[in-house]
């Protein structure tokens, strides 16, 4: 979240990708960094023990979320 918000402040569009268990942390970080409500993509948790197929699914979700948040489709 910190990196994404820093990028936005530099006028570079960015999307943070969080797993479900870090949603509240991401919301808190956007608030303490002065950009409350900053949207981010959410994927399932946990990533580290996911199978290759599971990772592909997460990547697909992330791509969909990024498109939704960055583009006016």
């Amino acid at each position: 979240m910190h990196d994404a918000i820093t990028a936005e402040r530099l006028k570079v569009p960015a999307i943070g990708v969080m797993t479900t268990r870090f949603v509240s942390a991401a919301e808190l970080m956007s608030r303490v960094l002065g950009m409350p409500g900053y949207p981010f993509a959410v994927i399932p948790h946990p990533v580290s023990s996911a199978t290759d197929d599971g990772l592909r699914e997460m990547a697909a979700i992330a791509i969909g979320e990024v498109k939704r948040l960055l583009l006016r489709l």
Binding site: H2, F22, S24, A25, L28, M29, V32, L33, S49
Partner: protein
């Protein structure tokens, strides 16, 4: 002494009595779950006065979020933790050390890894404030270490919002997150103080901070040979590398008097200890498979990993009660990212003298 009434910036609250004060702190999430000492204006001013600091003096800036840490806010948390003014310079110095970039304070306090800040005291200030490095050294050994460690945690909670479920995302945490401060037992050892090994002159009071996991206790009462004693410490470090994290970094080992005397009698210095541990605390990546982590061994099973990148990464601490063949290793949180920092208390090493 600052020769005029101190102007404090913090908001004040009127409460009926000490019980109402406790409830105010608990209700607002301003404490660690234990009662606090109400930080009255006079008590906070006395802390700042002792350290000869103005309330708005900047202790430092938290490097990731850019939060300014003022002396006043730190003093408030020191009083809440039970500090007397004489403890405050240690709290100030510890927090200054934690704000160094190499400590990685935000990561260390936010991570799911759940480490605490281990604070190690050296030099004459230990005796001035009554910090003990003998009995129960990793537990409730004395007032000074108890309140100094707690002051750091309360400051993290209140100044940097490091609350469980907030910035603090620890999965487990450990008991050292209430307080985790150790004084080295310099009086009962021939070894040089940790601060001297870390580059400070002898007789300078100092604080070393480390982002630290929970202590892991070892025992070997059945030998006097340095190699065998230290093999037990190295084995526990290898276990940590297998069961927790393979990455190298600042490990601390705490060596109480009984085992220490065997090492000293054999002529082993702290540097000798560190050189031995550096060689012995290593594992092959394939050992991860023995601990259920075969999925990440892949084709790198023969790669050897050391617990230390160099012998001087080991913080050898002489502390603990006089009897018992025990010791402890204290593993790093994320050793290749967060590094221990040592700061002198109340003096400036290598600073330029003021120009006339």
């Amino acid at each position: 002494m600052i020769g005029r009434p101190m102007q404090l910036a913090s908001r004040t609250y009127d409460v009926a009595d000490v019980w109402a004060a406790q409830e105010l702190y608990h209700a607002n999430g301003w404490t660690d779950g234990l009662p606090i000492v109400p930080p009255t204006r006079d008590a906070v001013a006395a802390c700042l006065d002792w350290a000869m600091m103005e309330p708005q003096q900047l202790v430092g800036i938290e490097p990731v979020r850019g939060v300014a840490i003022t002396a006043e806010k730190l003093a408030i948390n020191a009083i809440m933790a039970g500090c007397l003014p004489m403890h405050f310079p240690v709290v100030l110095t510890a927090f200054t050390a934690m704000l160094r970039t190499e400590f990685l304070l935000h990561g260390a306090t936010a991570s799911t890894g759940g480490c605490a800040v281990l604070i190690i005291l050296n030099g004459p200030i230990r005796l001035e404030i009554g910090a003990s490095g003998t009995f129960n050294t990793l537990g409730n050994s004395d007032r000074a270490t108890a309140v100094i460690g707690r002051a750091i945690r309360l400051a993290l909670i209140n100044i940097l919002e490091v609350r469980p479920g907030g910035i603090d995302r620890s999965t487990l945490g450990h008991p050292g997150k209430f307080t985790f401060c150790v004084a080295e037992d310099e009086e009962n050892t021939t070894w040089a103080p940790l601060s001297v090994h870390r580059g400070l002159p002898p007789e300078v009071s100092a604080v070393t901070v480390m982002a630290a996991g929970a202590p892991r206790q070892i025992m070997n009462e059945w030998t006097t040979k340095p190699e065998e004693i230290l093999e037990t410490f190295a084995a526990e470090m290898r276990a940590n590398m297998r069961h927790y994290s393979i990455w190298a970094g600042n490990y601390a080992i705490v060596v109480p008097q009984q085992l220490r005397e065997h090492l000293q009698t054999a002529g082993w210095s702290k540097s000798d200890v560190a050189a031995f541990i550096f060689e012995r605390a290593r594992i092959h990546r394939r050992e991860w498979a023995d601990a259920g982590k075969g999925a990440v061994v892949r084709d790198r099973g023969d790669t050897v990993y050391g617990a230390l990148e160099s012998p001087d990464q080991l913080l050898v601490v002489a502390a603990g009660g006089p009897a018992g063949g025990f010791g402890a290793i204290i593993p790093p949180w994320l050793g290749h990212k967060s590094h221990a920092v040592t700061e002198a208390i109340g003096v400036c090493i290598d600073c330029e003298p003021p120009k006339a």
